[in-house]
């Protein structure tokens, strides 16, 4: 039968071994590989500014980006590819809450300046080029494409 000191050894050894492996892999990921995978060379001043705006307004509190965030508003990883810069700037610069009438949901009316909106678009463009192991998956069907009217 297992004794208490054997159980303790199992706990301590497992913890130490797996922590070390985890730290080594984290090092490899963040130091050796991340710049290439995320195309860090394209991370412009403007894109960083966009990220700061993203952070300061907690956009992740409604949207997901890289699949992370809230489930209230659309996934934005490939938003530039999907909607184009013009549409995105429309939503960001709108003085009234942006939203579709059928869903009853509204986006906060930030009324960003042109410059701020451009920074966010630069940030989304950078995000859209990250190699994400295939996320978001391409749907198996294309049932319908709808055009939302810009007010």
């Amino acid at each position: 039968m297992l004794t208490k000191s054997q159980a303790k050894l199992f706990f301590l050894a497992g913890t130490i071994i797996f922590s070390l492996i985890f730290l080594a892999l984290s090092y490899d990921t963040t130091v050796n590989q991340l710049d290439e995978i995320t195309h860090a060379e394209n991370l412009s001043e403007e894109a960083i500014k966009g990220r700061i705006i993203w952070d300061e307004n907690n956009c992740m509190g409604c949207h997901t980006l890289l699949g992370e965030g809230a489930y209230y508003a659309p996934e934005l990883t490939k938003v530039v590819e999907r909607r184009g810069a013009g549409y995105i700037k429309g939503a960001l610069m709108s003085p009234t809450p942006w939203g579709e009438h059928t869903s009853g949901r509204k986006m906060v009316a930030y009324g960003f300046s042109e410059e701020e909106a451009n920074s966010l678009v630069a940030f989304f463009t950078w995000i859209g080029e990250i190699e994400t192991n295939g996320f978001p998956a391409k749907p198996a069907y294309e049932v319908e494409k709808i055009d939302t009217e810009v007010e």
């Binding site: 208490k4 892999l25 590989q33 991340l34 992370e68 489930y71 906060v108 990250i130």
Partner: protein, 444 residues
């Protein structure tokens, strides 16, 4: 209770339950918003409601853990708490920081980092406060007459929790890098060190309630927390899959996170077996009910519902959908909310000397809240699965999909009402006990 200073725990439990009530109110705001009733939008937009809901959750659970530690550590170490005064100061300071943070969320003052929205300057205050708490606990342990495994595991969990908060406080220009280290906090908390805290509390309660020999219980405690770290540390990979990392995380995260349920299964089997082995003489059936409940519901919520979407092939489609919210609710409820409830249910009669356990109210509180939570989990799950098929597989646009699944949120809000009635009864029972008193001291 055996030591006067254990009374401090009461104020932590009281604060925890009050903040929990507030958390639920913000949950309703979001539930209605998902149904298209976003009437409060101008004052409490969705992101404010959400940050408030999840941060209150984390804050009240931590207050519950602190209260548990202030009750357990003196009793295990057989000594009075090092400094009751420091404990009160630390509680009040924690509440003030919490209120400022929550208030800030209503005025666009936050960081847009899921679960870690508290702004950086307040992070430092949180750290100082937690250090004060840890100091108090460690000093009590050192001056104590004995250092038990239960106390050590609990303390280790709390200490690692404090240390792991730090990687979340660094700014990175690269969004992927920021996310990567954010998971050091969020994942390694709930699927790592918090399980030590849960295990420690569970072991304490089982020792007290079942009367099974401490050596046996603590041996299995080591096995369980061993399994936790063996699977949970590399299991962090299940959050890395799709955020821009090397593909080796797909299989490392997949394999190890798929092992995580075994730690929770261990917890459930452990609790049930100790109960069956035990004498079944302890009169506080309410504490027993919540203790066994936590062990079983956490296995379903965290273990089973977590495993359901943890493999990369599934997660590619469910990542960032309401399927995640389904799992998040039952996991947090079963593992952490219920273990705090178990601790409160055990401590209250001992702190006050009154015996309001094993009544109709306590039984209804348990069953109604759990039935409500099962309903909520089902509603989120149905909405999430429909979302995955419509949006991710068939390719219907996000907002259109959301309109189609709105009816599930009616079920969510109705189940949440049932859940809240259960919680209301629990809190009513808490107040039946009144305040702690020295008359409740028991001499060995």
């Amino acid at each position: 209770m055996k030591f006067k200073t254990q009374k401090i725990a009461y104020w932590f439990f009281l604060s925890a339950l009050m903040l929990f009530s507030l958390q639920i109110i913000y949950g309703f705001i979001m539930g209605f918003a998902h149904m298209g009733m976003d009437g409060l939008h101008d004052y409490i937009p969705f992101n404010t409601a959400r940050a408030t809901h999840t941060n209150l959750l984390v804050v009240w659970l931590i207050l519950g853990f602190m209260g548990a530690a202030y009750y357990i550590i003196p009793e295990e170490s057989q000594t009075e708490l090092y400094s009751p005064k420091l404990a009160i100061i630390q509680l009040v300071a924690f509440l003030i920081v919490g209120v400022i943070a929550i208030g800030g969320f209503h005025f666009n003052w936050w960081e847009g980092r899921k679960f870690l929205e508290i702004p950086r300057p307040l992070d430092f205050l949180v750290v100082v406060d937690v250090l004060a708490f840890m100091f108090n606990i460690l000093m009590t342990l050192f001056k104590g007459k004995r250092q038990t495994t239960t106390a050590m595991v609990l303390t280790m969990g709390l200490l690692f929790m404090a240390l792991l908060y730090l990687p979340g406080m660094v700014w990175f220009d690269n969004h992927t890098l920021d996310s990567f280290y954010r998971w050091y906090v969020v994942h390694l908390w709930v699927e790592g060190v918090w399980e030590l805290i849960m295990g420690g509390i569970l072991a304490f309660l089982l020792i007290k309630i079942t009367g099974v020999d401490r050596e046996v219980i603590e041996k299995w405690l080591y096995v369980i927390v061993g399994l936790t770290f063996l699977s949970g540390i590399l299991g962090t990979g299940h959050h890395f899959y799709y955020i821009g990392v090397p593909s080796y995380w797909l299989w490392i995260g997949g394999i190890f996170s798929a092992l995580e349920p075994f730690a929770f299964l261990g917890m459930a089997l452990f609790a049930i077996n100790m109960y069956r082995k035990g004498e079944k003489k302890h009169p506080n059936k309410t504490a027993l009910q919540w203790t066994l409940g936590a062990a079983v519901v956490s296995f379903f919520g965290a273990g089973v519902l977590g495993a359901a979407h943890t493999l990369p092939g599934v997660n590619l489609y469910t990542h960032g959908t309401l399927v995640t919210a389904m799992h998040g609710h039952m996991a947090f409820w079963g593992a952490y909310a219920m273990i705090v409830f178990a601790m409160i249910a055990y401590a209250m009669p001992n702190l006050t000397g009154r015996k309001h356990y094993d009544t109709n109210i306590t039984r209804y509180a348990f069953w109604i809240s759990n039935v409500g939570m099962i309903g909520m989990t089902t509603a989120f799950g149905a909405a999430g699965i429909a979302q995955v098929y419509m949006e991710r597989i068939i390719g219907i646009e996000f907002m259109q999909t959301q309109v189609e699944i709105q009816s599930h949120f009616l079920v969510l809000v109705l189940s949440a009402t049932v859940f809240s009635i259960g919680i209301g009864l629990y809190i009513y029972n808490f107040f039946q006990y009144g305040q702690p008193t020295d008359e409740a001291l028991i001499k060995d």
